[in-house]
């Protein structure tokens, strides 16, 4: 048990610390693919450091809610990181929240961010909040559906258990999982404000979603938000790994498997970042009103996955 607590802490801290690395890696890959000179891998940390040290400028109208939001969002992401198995399955904290609660945590962070965006009362902030919520209400059910499909196979909504079942099942091709996987990818893209749904690198009024929400943040608040964004991407990636390629995660009580698990995680994350970069390079950002169609497709795929599970696998 105590080992579990240590592992839990270790893994969470690792996630928090390593999250900007994944962002940096993705950016590097993308720059390479686009023929630009890549920023160093540590660029994300530098940016965070810089932001933390900077003077914070707050809008006059900003309320305490605006100031509290970065902390809330960041804590939510840390919590999420504490639930998703990355290295080991032995997570004493995980009964606190299952996948549905995980979706809830993400939603909480998002709602706070959207409210904060509306707090100052600028045109961009409200616009961003609206678009963010639009994306969310389509993405969230799709995400839930993905989880449900997986949980139908694993008979649980507890992540460690799901991972355990998925990793130790007899090897078989689950078409439902394939559908769910594609849907999950689409949802993650939307949730993490990546191309083709959103572009994290632009500040164009017509296209931006996430960036519009955090326009008014600066200094340490912005740093926290950026860090949360990185952490969110990391958690999502870990989630994808846990659900669809869970092999390698150390089972309960098997400390010896940990180094291998770490290696596997790094490898999978690297591949994941690369894939993300490739896809971002290949696709163009879509019009805002194509987004519902995009997410609708994800939703449909997830539901199809569930139906297929009933039809073929049960």
């Amino acid at each position: 048990m105590s080992g579990g607590v240590v592992l839990q802490g270790l893994q969470t801290v690792l996630a928090v610390l390593a999250a900007p690395l994944l962002t940096g890696w993705t950016n590097q890959c993308r720059a390479r693919l686009q023929g630009r000179r890549p920023p160093p891998l540590w660029q994300s940390y530098r940016v965070l450091h810089k932001l933390f040290l900077k003077e914070t400028v707050l809008a006059k109208e900003a309320s305490p809610l605006f100031q509290a939001t970065p902390y809330v969002v960041f804590s939510c992401m840390v919590l999420a990181a504490g639930i998703v198995p990355m290295l080991a399955n032995d997570l004493p904290f995980s009964p606190v929240a299952d996948v549905i609660a995980l979706v809830g945590i993400f939603a909480l962070a998002r709602v706070f961010l959207a409210l904060a965006a509306m707090d100052v009362g600028t045109a961009f902030g409200t616009l961003g909040a609206r678009r963010e919520m639009l994306v969310a209400f389509l993405a969230e059910p799709a995400l839930l559906m993905v989880f449900f499909t997986v949980s139908l196979i694993s008979h649980s909504t507890q992540l460690p258990l799901m991972v355990h079942v998925l990793a130790h099942r007899k090897f078989a091709i689950y078409p439902s999982l394939a559908f769910a996987g594609v849907a999950f990818w689409m949802v993650s893209v939307a949730e993490n404000a990546r191309i083709p749904v959103d572009n994290p690198t632009t500040h164009l009024e017509l296209t931006m979603i996430h960036e519009a929400m955090i326009l008014e943040y600066s200094g340490r608040y912005l740093a926290l938000i950026e860090w949360s964004v990185a952490l969110k991407l990391f958690v999502y990636s870990a989630l994808g790994i846990a659900l669809f390629v869970p092999w390698g995660i150390a089972p309960v009580g098997d400390e010896a498997a940990l180094p291998l698990a770490l290696l596997a995680l790094v490898a999978k994350m690297a591949v994941g970042g690369l894939v993300l970069a490739v896809l971002e390079t290949l696709n163009a950002k879509m019009r805002l009103f194509r987004v519902p169609e995009f997410l609708g497709t994800a939703f449909l795929l997830a539901v199809l996955g569930m139906l297929i599970h009933f039809l073929l696998e049960s």
């Binding site: 003077e55 504490g82 606190v96 909480l108 509306m118 639009l134 949980s151 649980s156 569930m306």
Partner: protein, 671 residues
């Protein structure tokens, strides 16, 4: 009073009812004394607390019954307090306490005439709802039910000079009446056929009545129509978005938060208690209707620009979710999966309780906003967080709760509901197995959309900049109002943090309805229905962890980085001339929804003209049901009545002819 033995809980509730009735009656002679009238509300609140306490007693103690020898000869008023009514009494009492405390502050600025009307009907309304929960025979139930409708009608129309309010009241009472007629039919079918005379109307006779499947289905359908009309089930929901905004806010709070649950209670009473056997298709029907209601409600909530209307539609949505769960419970119970039925029912009851609290909170908070700003339209609101911090923060809790976000109470019940859905595989009916994933998806969609709606609601009203210069003078709610809201908000938090305890508390009600309690595999800290390995949720540790991380991060950041904070104008990408009109309006926020779900509604848009000095865009989304269902009925009625009127054309010879022909026809008939 016969048959009172000792301090039976039922007799104690009866005391609460009498208290409320006495307050109502006392208000009539005191109708000119403002101070006395206002003093009635805290007393009503205390009575509410008392009723809630007795409700808990009803949950924990065995059922108790009482016969009060008033009412119909041969059919005295039968009262009974069992766990199910105990639960709803608890709900009623908790809601009533908070709202009544609030009402003391809210009503004190009313004109005396309106205050007097409110002071008379408000306690009467509470008493009627209590009686609905206690009634143990069809007659008493109907009387209480209609008294509830009547008193709430008078509360809705307390400001009757406004034509819209009258229209809303009319529609409300009409729908209530139609619902009551359906209930009458339901009880008519249920009438215990083993008994004759007046005794056939007692619930105990109905419980033992033997019905054919057709009769039972008929009774259930009538009950569904009757209670659905009160609950606002689509397509019987049309009154709700009209009546709730029309009422004074505490009344809206009670109606939305508490009265709608009486419909749930009624359906549970009829469907699970009076009808001993259920059929699976009832569950499917309720499920489908519930989903439709939820989806319809939330979509329309998203496109409203009147805050109370928005909340009213959101109530429709929540009722939809509740009924979805109920449908699931029926399906499970028919299939003999009583454990799962218990899970679904727990979700239903939990959500009902939650909704009673957060919707009351939101409605009363809206009342404070209305009082401070004088408008319900979002286009004239904004930035109230800074003027009304108490209201703002307490409302934030309500908003987060209703949006189904952890660690508040809304999340718990929605989590339970989703868990219930996840357990559906393995039903005997295969088409259900196929259908339920889609249903699950819809529930998820509704929950996500609810968050959208609430961000819109809170963001537009409390955040941003005031859209109307007059809002500079907005004032904070007074101490009574704050206390009321505080009560409701803390209840939301507590229910969110201690779900295991709550589930234990409501388990007698679940036991009574589903025949089994929901087993919690996780102890008092962790909520783990059925099996901890399948799913668990522990809000208290969750909340503590969040808090810990938050404090840690805050501490670290503040300790490590001590950078200055400077206040300046908003950045806005450097755009200099920022005005409040540049923020998203309510219509703007609803536009994507209008766009995506355009087939659900008919949108009337008013576009600004090029020469407008203050260009304004407005869009009103009209419920399609009006066109599909209600207007054709009205037209048909009018047509029929015009045709009938042709009979009456004033010429006496014709009238004589009618008599003559009648005579001849009858003579031929008897020959």
């Amino acid at each position: 009073m016969s048959e009172i033995t000792g301090y039976q809980p039922v007799a104690m509730v009866w005391g609460g009812v009498l208290c409320w009735l006495a307050l109502a009656l006392l208000a009539i002679p005191l109708r000119a004394h403002k101070r006395w009238l206002l003093a009635g509300f805290p007393l009503a609140a205390l009575t509410g607390l008392w009723v809630a306490a007795v409700g808990v007693a009803g949950l924990l103690l065995p059922a108790s019954a009482q016969i009060v020898p008033v009412g119909f000869p041969g059919l005295p008023v039968h009262l009974r307090l069992d766990a199910l009514s105990g639960f709803f009494l608890l709900l009623l009492g908790m809601g009533a306490f908070g709202v009544s405390v609030y009402a003391r502050g809210y009503f004190q600025h009313m004109e005396i005439g309106e205050l007097a009307r409110l002071a008379i009907w408000y306690p009467a309304f509470l008493a009627a709802m209590t009686l609905v929960l206690l009634a143990n025979d069809a007659y008493a139930f109907m009387v209480a039910w209609e008294l509830m409708a009547l008193s709430s009608y008078f509360l809705v129309t307390s400001d009757y000079r406004v034509e819209e309010i009258r229209k809303a009241g009319f529609l409300y009472l009409l729908m209530a009446h139609i619902g009551a007629v359906a209930l009458l039919l339901c009880f008519g079918v249920l009438q215990g056929n083993g008994h004759t005379g007046d005794a056939a109307f007692t619930f105990s006779a109905m419980r033992h009545g033997v019905l054919t499947p057709t009769q039972a289905s008929l009774a259930f359908l009538f009950a569904l129509i009757g209670f659905g009309a009160k609950a606002g089930l689509v397509p019987l929901h049309v009154w709700l978005p009209e009546a709730h905004p029309a009422a004074p806010s505490p009344v809206s709070a009670l109606m939305s938060g508490v009265m709608l649950k009486m419909a749930l209670y009624g359906l549970l009473r009829v469907g699970f208690d009076l009808l001993s056997v259920r059929q699976e298709w009832w569950g499917v029907l309720v499920l489908v209707l519930g989903l439709m209601t939820a989806l319809y409600g939330v979509i329309f909530a998203a496109v409203q620009s009147d805050i109370k209307r928005l909340l009213a539609w959101s109530s429709i949505e929540n009722i939809g979710l509740i009924f979805t769960g109920l449908g699931l419970a029926i399906i499970f119970s028919v299939e003999g999966k009583s454990g799962l039925a218990a899970l679904a029912l727990t979700a239903v009851l939990y959500h009902a309780l939650n909704h009673a609290l957060f919707k009351s909170l939101l409605f009363v908070g809206t009342g404070s906003v209305l009082h401070a700003s004088g408008t319900r339209l979002m286009s004239g609101l904004g930035g109230l967080m800074r003027k009304m911090p108490w209201t703002g923060w307490l409302m934030l809790l309500g908003v987060l709760a209703i949006a189904g976000l952890p660690p508040l109470n809304g999340f718990v019940s929605e989590w339970l509901l989703l868990q219930a859905f996840l357990f559906t595989p393995g039903l005997d009916l295969h088409y259900l197995n196929m259908m339920l994933p889609v249903a699950t998806a819809s529930v998820a969609l509704v929950i996500a959309l609810a968050a959208y709606v609430m961000v819109k609601f809170y963001g537009v009203v409390f955040l941003g900049q005031p859209r109307n210069p007059a809002l500079k003078h907005a004032h904070e709610a007074d101490i009574w109002q704050r206390m009321g809201m505080l009560w409701l908000a803390s209840a939301c938090v507590l229910l969110g943090l201690l779900p295991s305890a709550v589930i234990v508390l409501i388990s007698p009600a679940v036991q009574q309805v589903a025949g089994r309690v929901l087993t919690n595999d996780g102890g008092w800290l962790v909520l783990a229905p059925m099996d901890a390995a399948r799913a668990s949720y522990a809000p208290l540790p969750f909340w503590l962890a969040t808090l810990a991380v938050l404090l840690l991060v805050y501490g670290l950041v503040r300790f490590r980085y001590t950078g200055r904070v400077r206040r300046s104008a908003a950045w806005q990408c450097g755009f200099p001339a920022v005005t409040a009109r540049m923020q998203d309006s309510a219509e703007g926020f609803g536009q994507p929804i209008q766009h995506i779900f355009s087939s659900f509604m008919q949108v009337d848009r008013q576009y600004p003209q090029p020469q407008d000095r203050t260009p304004h865009y407005a869009s009103v989304s009209i419920d399609q049901w009006w066109h599909f269902l209600y207007l054709p009925i009205v037209a048909a009625t009018n047509w029929l009545s015009q045709q009938t009127a042709r009979l009456q054309h004033g010429r006496i010879q014709w009238y004589l002819t009618y008599s003559f022909i009648t005579l001849l026809v009858l003579l031929v008939f008897v020959q």
